[in-house]
Amino acid sequence: MSGIEATAITSPRKVDTVEQAATSPDVQQPWAELGLKADEYQRIRDILGRRPTSAELAMYSVMWSEHCSYKSSKVHLRQFGAKQPATDALLVGIGENAGVVDIGDGWAVTFKVESHNHPSFIEPYQGAATGVGGIVRDILAMGARPLAVMDSLRFGAPEHPDTPRIVGGVVAGVGGYGNCLGLPNIGGEAVFDACYQGNPLVNALCVGAMRHEDIHLAKASGVGNLVVPYGARTGGDGIGGVSVLASETFDATGPAKRPAVQVGDPFMEKLLIESTLQMFKEHLVEGIQDLGGAGLSCATSELASNGDGGMRIHLDRVPLRDATLSPEEILMSESQERMMAVVHPDNIERVMQICAHWDVTATVVGEVTDGSNLQVFWHDELVVDVPPRTVAHDGPVYERPYHRPAWLDARQADEPTPQRCPRPGTAAEMSEHILRLMSSANLCDREWLTSQYDRYVLGNTVAAMPHDSGVVRIDEATGRGVAISLDCNGRFGALDPYAGAQLALSEAYRNVAVSGATPLAVTDCLNFGSPEDPEVMWQFAEAVRGLADACLTLGTPVTGGNVSLYNQTAQTAIHPTPVVGVLGVIDDVRTRITMNGARVGDAVLLIGRTREEFAGGEWAHVIHGHLGGSAPAVDLPAEMALAAVVRGHSRLITSAHDLSDGGLAVALAELVLRNDYGVSASFADAEADAFTMLFSESVARAVVTVAAHDVDAVRAACELAGLPSALLGLIVAEQSLAIDTDAGRIHITREELAVGWSGALPAIMA
């Protein structure tokens, strides 16, 4: 029997108060339906010294959920702090809304990637749109003007009939929200693989900038300071399971009216951005938090917990869209486009003026107190009285069991040998394989998708897709800017999660480096299956360990990120997909390097070592559907050496393109497709056979072009850095890819490459 009276919506609702909870200890409460375990429920009772009220139960259940508390991942994520490399660049580390990095000249940059996976399967447009909205608010809450977004998307098999629904909705949602906010989309990735069929991944990144002194934190301190939610009115969005606390089962008027899907309003968020930045500019805000997962519960408990006092909130003052919401529902609502500011009483009038100017609803609902608890009132009745730290930061910590999967040895032993995966022997066969790779779902032209994103708004985009990293100018006067790349290869993770995470970091690091930027910091979005599966949990633990170890070696700390678990359908989990974002600084964006800009007659150099490494690569996947073997060897010192060579010779390098998916064949084909010149090369002096040179996916390699008279200088620098280099050939006027091999001459015209490459994605969507 519930402790709450079941009442129809038309009669006054009886609320479960603290007083009532103290005097009715034996009431049955639906803690199991809310996702809590028996010991967790008992712990809440121990913390409070009584049973929780209905509202308190709702708060704890949502804040202690996996999504909000990271209970399964915390023990592993601690490594990011424990193994953090020493660096002067980190201004704000893990634990705040987003990490903040010093990029010089008094500028700070904040960036983070977050997931919105499960909602994107249910309602692709809104799931993706609200994902973008959420991450933008996190950046805004740090005190920054949001400057750009990126997206890393994963969809199911290209030929599956449900795939277009998800692709179309997600891309329209990312574009629809970001474009309307006025944030350029500067890059990302889109990957197709059957393992994501029922579990698409939408990871959204936002980057913003501010001056050092403008960094804001999510804490409420200063007794008497006012608590002011502003933005959209609160409705019943995303309440989901909390409705078990409401009286809906007794509602005679029909099915539950509590939508599980959150609907975004980018126009409101644009107003939120402008009004918030105005408040920052005038130094009116003591602390600020955005309302995301768990809405008001999260914002109030986190602000209070991070502060030095308590907080008193009058929930009935929160502006509502739906007057029938119960206090529990208001606390849990995930209505979008809301922020919460802590404002000194002297500043409140000006804050209200600014909000009125932008037509943004703002209401004082409470204040910071000198007590220690978070107290929430509903029309003068106390319904929540909790120590905020216990809600926001002292959630359960699970030590989930994990073990290496039994099947992994067999998978790692299943190398793509010539017997298992017959290789092309003639130039004609190699050409055919190159064409098949370029028209495959994961390597084909992404124009259909990226043309739905505004890349120009704000006028500071120096490089966007399809460049290796997105480059944004931060300071118009000096040209200082940042380069960001977001990468992952789930197949490498499936072969070896430790290496897979390191390879994702390597790829993002390399992408930033070849633009001439200096990599500084990392954000990550760890997408995995169910933590209740010990084999998945092992994959997660290994990936975190790999990422933390590699960040330490590269000197780039993890500044913040996100974990998304339970990405699986029945027993089939997605590949371990640790998406890694690397941010680098570039002193003057005018010196950035892209894959355009070579001149006919320039030499084409391959820098880095090529080994026979095809496991998990595109050739084995596209040609043979094979996934097996050992992932390519990670070589972090070589990545750093490559970065240093490129950065040190940026004036001599006329264009650069890193090697990753599909190896050298794809990199050269892309150079031909993306320019109005061609490549004429030879493998005569190459360190391996033609097949290996074309399709190996060894790390730490890039193709660079330099004027003929600069070749020796660049090659000498490579040698000094311990990097092999090979003079592959020349940039030529004829728009084709021509390679002399001992199996014959490969010659593919740009037109031949373009046919399959540009038509593949539209064909999937047709």
């Binding site: 329209a172 574009g175 629809g176 474009n179 309307c180 906010l181 006025g182 309003d265 980018p266 126009f267 409101m268 644009k270 107003l271 932008w358 037509d359 043309s451 739905q452 994103y453 505004d454 890349r455 120009y456 708004v457 704000l458 006028g459 500071n460 985009t461 120096v462 100018r473 964006v589 005018r590």
Partner: protein, 227 residues
């Protein structure tokens, strides 16, 4: 004394700062104007920037067109004040009747952002004085509701009166007769769907071809003073 060009910000305007930057790069001073005010501050011309004013709710530009500042702009435009409406600004000009026709959803239903080849057809409007008729340029187009429509009579009239200012080469959105920009009878008000303010510097845009729109108005205003 340099020319002063107002750039109006509506709730949801996105390319207003970019328009202001382009105005300055073109040699004028940018005066930022707020939609709810009614003082045009004596500017010599006005730019209605791109974006999603009012979220594009109801119809693009439908609500912005009733803004207090737009009341002033409409009156001043009828008196000869030059106005450039870019993208959402073009939509607002059509909704307020300063230009004929309307903009509807792109025929392929997607938002499209790409570097667009455009042919300047009329080099004698207040905003294209520095172009030669027939000049081909590349500037970004980025819109979801960029399809220009008008009835046949209007289209014929625009053509006959040489009021089609620019046409697409490779139509990105289904605009009738490939119309990318048009002007009013007095050739002072121009609506353009692509974004010249995003092509003023090859560092951040495809070309610097868009700058001439902003130098043209300075040329035009200087000629007025001199005349």
């Amino acid at each position: 004394m340099s020319a002063r060009i107002g750039v109006i910000t509506f709730p949801g305007s996105l390319d207003d700062s970019d328009a202001a930057r382009a105005v300055i790069a073109g040699g004028a001073a940018a005066v930022r104007l707020w939609h709810a005010d009614t003082d045009l501050q004596g500017v010599d011309a006005v730019v209605l920037p791109g974006g999603f004013s009012y979220g594009d709710y109801l119809r693009c530009g439908a609500i912005a067109r009733f803004a207090p500042m737009m009341g002033e702009v409409i009156e001043a435009a009828r008196d000869g004040l030059p106005v450039l409406g870019i993208c959402n600004g073009f939509q607002i000009l059509c909704e307020s009747g300063l230009l004929p026709g309307a903009l509807i959803r792109n025929n392929h239903l997607h938002f499209i952002c790409r570097d667009q080849r455009v042919r300047i057809e009329a080099g004698d409007t207040a905003w294209t004085a520095d172009f030669a008729a027939g000049q081909e340029i590349v500037i970004p187009v980025k819109n979801g509701e960029g399809g220009y429509v008008a009835d046949a009579r209007t289209l014929d009239m625009l053509q006959a009166e040489d009021r089609i200012v620019a046409r697409y080469q490779g139509n990105p959105n289904g605009s009738l007769r490939d119309i990318a920009a048009i002007t009013n009878e007095s050739r002072t008000v121009v609506g353009i769907m692509p974004h010249p303010e995003h092509a003023i510097d090859p560092l951040t845009g495809p070309t610097a071809d868009g700058l001439a729109f902003f130098t043209s108005i300075v040329t035009t205003l200087a000629a007025r003073v001199g005349a």
